[in-house]
């Protein structure tokens, strides 16, 4: 079970000097740097044995939310817990219960796929034998057995993705957090991934709690048990696909999503106009 309540985080961004030669406007007083509110108010609950989709347009704050969940960024406000463990207070304990496939998914090019996976397994506290065995199990599941002994240097986008996914799942976590995992995968690989995730969420697959962030509507429709729509750093709606369709009175999920995600934008634009 992953709980996220009223999460907020803002960043300062570097100012671009207006003049190429900024000496004239030079002063020792430091103007405060401009703030960007990446996440304003995101809340959701992802139960075990359930695939929760985090749906939002580009720049909605999905990646920042997931980075906070993984303990990389401390939130300004809000609470997060993984299996009852507070992420802010005990980040390492929380991370041990999660397998995160983040936005950055770089591999070590001089190591083989197996070595990449086993390295993370060892860092998760597994023994060498256990990590090796698990790497093979995952390779079978993700259909990447022939890749296992190859250096990741010449891997295709899909092969990289599979290796990174196996690396994130190596310690058999009860909670799986995936940030746009289908990026760069072809139809067959996407299908295979969907199958695997669906299996993992069933009791036979371990009743995992899965969070799946994406900006692709079809993915959500095909895979997710419930959807959380995020726009401009806020949770704007949540529920099953059916519920969201009913709420917006649309038949097409894409239309429903546009209504939900961009309505606040349109409102604020109208506010400015009037």
């Amino acid at each position: 079970m992953i709980l996220v309540e009223h999460l907020a985080r803002s960043f300062t961004v570097a100012r671009v000097p207006r003049k190429v030669w900024p000496l004239k406007s030079f002063s020792f007083k430091r103007r405060p740097l401009p703030l960007v509110h990446a996440v304003r108010d995101v809340s959701f609950a992802a139960p075990d044995g359930h695939i929760t989709g985090l749906l939002g347009p580009n720049g909605a704050g999905k990646t920042t939310t997931l980075r906070m969940l993984a303990g990389l960024i401390t939130p300004d406000h809000g609470r997060m817990s993984v299996a009852g463990i507070d992420v802010v207070r005990q980040p390492q304990a929380a991370v041990a219960h999660m397998g995160v496939l983040s936005d950055a998914r770089g591999l070590y090019p001089r190591l083989s796929a197996r070595e990449n996976i086993v390295y993370f397994g060892r860092l998760q506290g597994m023994s060498l034998e256990a990590a090796q065995a698990r790497a093979e199990t995952l390779a079978r599941m993700l259909d990447m057995l022939p890749l296992l002994e190859r250096r990741t240097d010449g891997f295709s986008q899909g092969e990289r993705m599979k290796t990174a996914l196996a690396r994130a799942l190596v310690h058999d976590p009860a909670h799986i957090v995936l940030d746009e995992p289908t990026n760069g995968l072809d139809v067959l690989a996407t299908r295979a991934l969907r199958e695997s995730l669906r299996f993992l969420s069933t009791p036979a697959g371990g009743n995992k709690c899965i969070i799946f962030s994406t900006h692709i509507m079809q993915e959500v429709q095909r895979l997710c048990d419930s959807v959380v729509v995020v726009a401009q750093g806020c949770t704007v709606a949540s529920g099953t696909v059916q519920e969201l369709l009913q709420r917006t009175g649309e038949i097409d999920f894409e239309e429903a999503f546009v209504k939900l995600a961009f309505a606040p934008l349109a409102d604020s634009a109208r506010g400015v106009a009037s």
């Binding site: 990389l72 041990a96 995160v100 770089g106 190591l111 390295y119 993370f120 860092l123």
Partner: protein, 390 residues
Amino acid sequence: MKHWRNIWVVFTKELVDALRDRRTLLVLLASSVLMGPLLLLALSGLIASLEAKAELREVLVVGMEQAPTLKNFFERQTWVVKTAPAEYERLLRDAKLGDPVLLVPKDFEATLLRGDTPELELVSDSANKKSEAGVRRVLELLRAFGQERASLSLAMRGVSAELLSPIKVQERDLASNQARAAKFTSMLTFFVLLAVISGAMNAALDSTAGERERGSLEPLLMNPVAALALVLGKWCAVAAVAMLIAVLSCLSFLPGQWLLRSDTLQAMFQFGWHEVALFLVVLLPFAAAVSAVLMAVAIGSKSVKEAQANSTVVMLTFGLLPMVSLFNQSGDEPWHLWLPGLAQNILMMRVLKGESFTTLQIVVPLLVCVLLTVAGVMFVASRVRSAAVK
């Protein structure tokens, strides 16, 4: 316990990763291993040619036929008189002629017999090192000639020749054989320092800025491992590579010695296992400190290229500080020991000169290296999380 295990896991992975970077490693190894023998070979060639010149008793003269007395003197001193080539000025300027040229005026013999002072001209080029070295020998020879002439004329007048030299000077050089050689071998220590820095550079950059550039730092930090354990593991691997380079470049001087052509240099440059051990006492802490500092500089960079530009500053500081002792003629000051790079250079020079260390000379640079290492590792550990998401 858990932390030690994690440090070990990170260390072994980083070491394997660094050792698999075959091409970079080969270049590093080749340059550090070949450096010793090549440098020594070049040095011995230089000294051997200087020695050969000193043994060669030859003087280049223009117009020798006008001075039979001088010629007679040269030949009595068993010097060979050679006629200088016509375009000697150009040859000297182009450094193609390695000896100074003596010009004898037309009326030399007549002036000498008359009892006047004839004027000789000795042509050399001070930018031409080889001819410069010969000037002193020819001047010495001419002075001896003057001395002989003077004592002869005094003797004819019944005056003792000793009147001409009321004092006697005996030169005594305090420098030991090895200290004299250190004049030539001082550049060796400089190259050893550079080899250690460049050995650490690649691994340090790859494990920090490289990890950021590849996008593997963020997933790495999503493992339940303390940032300090992670950074310590990485630092251990980088320092291990740098230390390996240090050991290899020191050992390369051992076989390098056999290539020495000059007997004098061979006698003066004594580099055995004892010297290797002392060099390593100086270099290993330095390798550790340089690794930490390079990692600290590189963690702020988003790409390896950016980090390379930034670490040039480290390279220049540590690599060029030894120049202070080169420019500073007043000898080593106590504060020199506090500067990394310079301190190591001073200590290695002492080893080459065959001098021993005081406790302070060992402790101060060691302390500086330990402090730098701790500061560097702590800095990287504090920055690694924010670096991952930027």
